[in-house]
Symmetry: C2
Subunit: 193 residues, 2 copies
């Protein structure tokens, strides 16, 4: 793996596909008007059959306005055959893994750009251990969810290894998904019949 030393650039230029000038302009705009930072993300889900359901992700609000994505995004979820589903899509817990590695990776690209580091590749593998004695109701000593999650990053760019590690660490320290998964979040559930 090629690792060369590069001094941080003084000018904020687009890098790694990150529009760094706009990123910093956005941060400065929010600094001047903190209300812009309030966002709400949403999804709707419809049961299909068995453990198979379908989610649509379309609108969200933030920066003082309503927004819709470029296109409505649709995602299914299901259980595999070994868990008595039809494997139309990954399980919900696998989407947690997708969310975590994607959030950390987006942060890595942003932080690297902000620090003047050109990345050549960022790959990660992620795995989560879960003991189904919990969700199957067979043990009160076993939690329902993952017992632990491990992420392995392989990262390359024009900076020394230590600087690349610091970029990953900064992404972790500001990752929304890492925060939610490690610290938890209050969830309210209402039922209408």
């Amino acid at each position: 793996m090629q690792v060369t030393v590069a001094e941080p650039r003084r000018e904020r230029v687009p890098l790694n596909g990150v529009d760094t000038p706009t990123l910093f302009a956005t941060i400065n705009a929010v600094k001047g008007m903190p209300e812009l930072a309030k966002f709400q993300f949403r999804a709707t889900n419809q049961w299909v059959k068995g453990t198979h359901s379908r989610t649509v992700i379309d609108s969200f609000s933030g920066a003082g306005a309503s927004h819709t994505h470029a296109t409505p995004f649709r995602y299914d979820a299901d259980h595999p055959a070994v868990l008595v589903g039809t494997d139309q899509a990954p399980t919900p817990v696998e989407f947690l893994l997708h969310a975590l590695c994607a959030c950390l990776t987006a942060g890595i690209a942003n932080v690297a750009a902000a620090r003047g580091v050109t990345l050549t590749s960022v790959e990660s593998t992620i795995e989560g251990d879960i003991n189904l004695l919990g969700i199957l109701g067979l043990s009160d000593q076993v939690r329902n969810g993952y017992e632990r999650i491990r992420v392995n990053f392989k990262i390359a760019g024009d900076a020394p290894a230590e600087k690349l590690r610091q970029i990953v660490e900064q992404s972790r320290s500001r990752s929304a998904v890492f925060d939610v998964l490690t610290n938890g979040v209050p969830v309210e559930i209402a039922v209408h019949t």
Copy 2:
């Protein structure tokens, strides 16, 4: 909405697209050999450009064997333009919402089938409030992730409203994603350069 009273069926027959006999046979098999309950789910992610990355979900292990999904599932993630991305896909935090409502909904179908309740529809809307002062590094008083998540279920089937509510509650109490999101999970991150 039509709600009629139905007594739980004594026989365990397939219901709601859930193969209830196989579901109970699986639970009994795991009861006799708890090692079968140990699962590991995995994903790999590759950075594309800017905040855009792509995850592949393919193999997992559990029930004493290695498995692959019917097909490798691929999911992108990105930031929208207002968050200086290119909106190729939802944000990582929106996938958390998908995971939660899909997990609760799969559980609802399973629990209803086990209790002899035929469901006609299960719909949910989910929203998460997040203040970006956290991830933008503009306030140490604001967390990085969601401050709260709300799920609203609309559910219909051949059981009284109270029984339908109990089904949702049972699903919540055994949901892997609800557990992870509300209680948190240890996450280890390693970096290789």
